[in-house]
């Protein structure tokens, strides 16, 4: 007891000393200024830098892009006169067959990555939640791909997919008997989209698993105990307790991955660059080509606004669904 008192006393005197030092170190002018401020003013003083930063790097570029989408501005001709072209940029973007094709490629990529990542991620989370021997070690191992940079992942998967020296083709050959150099994952029109889906799933499934694991760990044990008392089968417990209670977390994971995958650029660029032909040219790559190869800044701004509206609308639906699930 004495020891505890002693430690507390030491701590409190240390805190007092630190506070005294802080007071002494604060310039008198600053101290006087802060003393006269209300709580509300101090709160505003703390959040103003964040709001200013948000306005400067998020809101202003958005408004600027909206403005540019109505002009014929080209970033490679900064001194040329900027004319207002009304809705012509939107008209062109929404009647362009290539952009429409890019949208379909994006939809294919987003749909399959989300399906695979959710199913595999939830399954892994369910298995890890069983708390078997060494589960902490395996959790760390599974999380490794998520910690890597997309640039690194894109580069090393390009080597793995090499038909002559790549490990991937040899593994497929080992299991199926198909000669390793007879197929090219990144060079084939039919296989390239799936090659990208595979890499994205490999990289981001651990992220979905982590969110699902948080959901599974948040389910109280007494609900399962009550179900056991009612002689509910494992299958019944899974569908009536586990899934409904983990659903908000699963939906959150789907929302995060959905928004992220709509913007997918780096990995696709490194793996295929949109090829072969334009089979893996997702919307962000088409956007980059319009903006920095064709230098049609106004038109690419209109395209960016189109993507933004799509993602914003989707986020609204998801937030509504999430609130509904939470209220249950």
């Amino acid at each position: 007891m004495d020891q505890v008192t002693l430690v507390t006393d030491t701590n409190s005197s240390f805190v007092d000393k630190a506070a005294d030092a802080a007071v002494r170190a604060t310039p008198t002018t600053v101290a006087n200024r802060v003393r006269g401020m209300s709580d509300r003013s101090i709160a505003w003083a703390f959040i103003t830098p964040t709001i200013a930063l948000l306005l400067a790097i998020n809101i202003f570029p958005l408004l600027w892009a909206i403005y540019l989408s109505f002009t014929n501005f080209r970033a490679n001709r900064p001194n040329a006169a900027i004319d207002n072209v009304g809705l012509r940029n939107y008209e062109r973007v929404l009647n362009d067959a290539d952009i429409w094709q890019a949208m379909q490629t994006t939809a294919h990529f987003v749909f399959w990555t989300i399906v695979l990542q959710t199913v595999i991620g939830f399954t892994l989370a369910y298995l890890i939640d069983r708390k078997f021997r060494g589960h902490a070690f395996w959790t760390t191992v599974i999380l490794i791909p998520m910690m890597l940079s997309p640039a690194v992942v894109g580069n090393f998967w390009r080597f793995l997919y090499q038909p002559q020296i790549g490990l991937f083709n040899y593994i497929v050959s080992f299991f199926t008997g198909i000669p390793p150099s007879s197929f090219e994952m990144l060079g084939s029109v039919s296989l390239a989209p799936w090659a990208i889906i595979l890499v994205d799933t490999w990289m981001w499934t651990p992220y979905v698993m982590l969110i699902c694991l948080a959901g599974l760990r948040s389910i109280p044990d007494y609900i399962y105990e009550a179900a056991e008392v009612d002689r509910a089968s494992g299958w019944r417990q899974f569908w009536s307790i586990t899934i409904p209670m983990a659903l908000p977390f699963i939906m959150l994971a789907v929302l995060f991955r959905g928004i992220e995958n709509f913007k997918m650029f780096d990995m696709v660029m490194l793996l295929t660059g949109g090829g072969p032909g334009s089979t893996t040219e997702v919307a962000s790559i088409t956007l980059k080509r319009e903006a920095f190869e064709s230098w049609l800044t106004g038109r690419s701004s209109a395209f960016a606004i189109l993507l933004f509206v799509a993602v914003f609308g989707l986020a609204n639906i998801y937030v509504k669904a999430l609130n509904k699930v939470k209220q249950r």
Binding site: L94, A97, Q104, A310, G313, I317
Partner: protein, 71 residues
């Protein structure tokens, strides 16, 4: 006491018109956004893709407005 027993119950508050109720209007806005989203990514008709942005914008604007309505 008898007065209290025989008082007529208060009339329930008149319900807001359908287009001013948050629940159904949010559902309609969500359906419009969903429709716009499908129109944007469908591979069947160019005309649907052309009109997708207008549909998405209408749905999103509607959602933002109706989500401020009281329950």
């Amino acid at each position: 006491m008898t007065d209290q027993l025989f008082t007529t119950p208060k009339e329930p508050k008149p319900r807001r018109p359908f287009f001013l109720r948050r629940g159904p209007m949010e559902n309609i806005a969500t359906a419009v956004i969903g429709l716009g989203f499908l129109m944007l990514f469908q591979p069947f008709a160019m005309i649907l893709y052309t009109w997708s942005l207008v549909t998405l914008l209408a749905g999103t604007a509607m959602f933002i407005i109706v989500s401020k309505f009281p329950e």
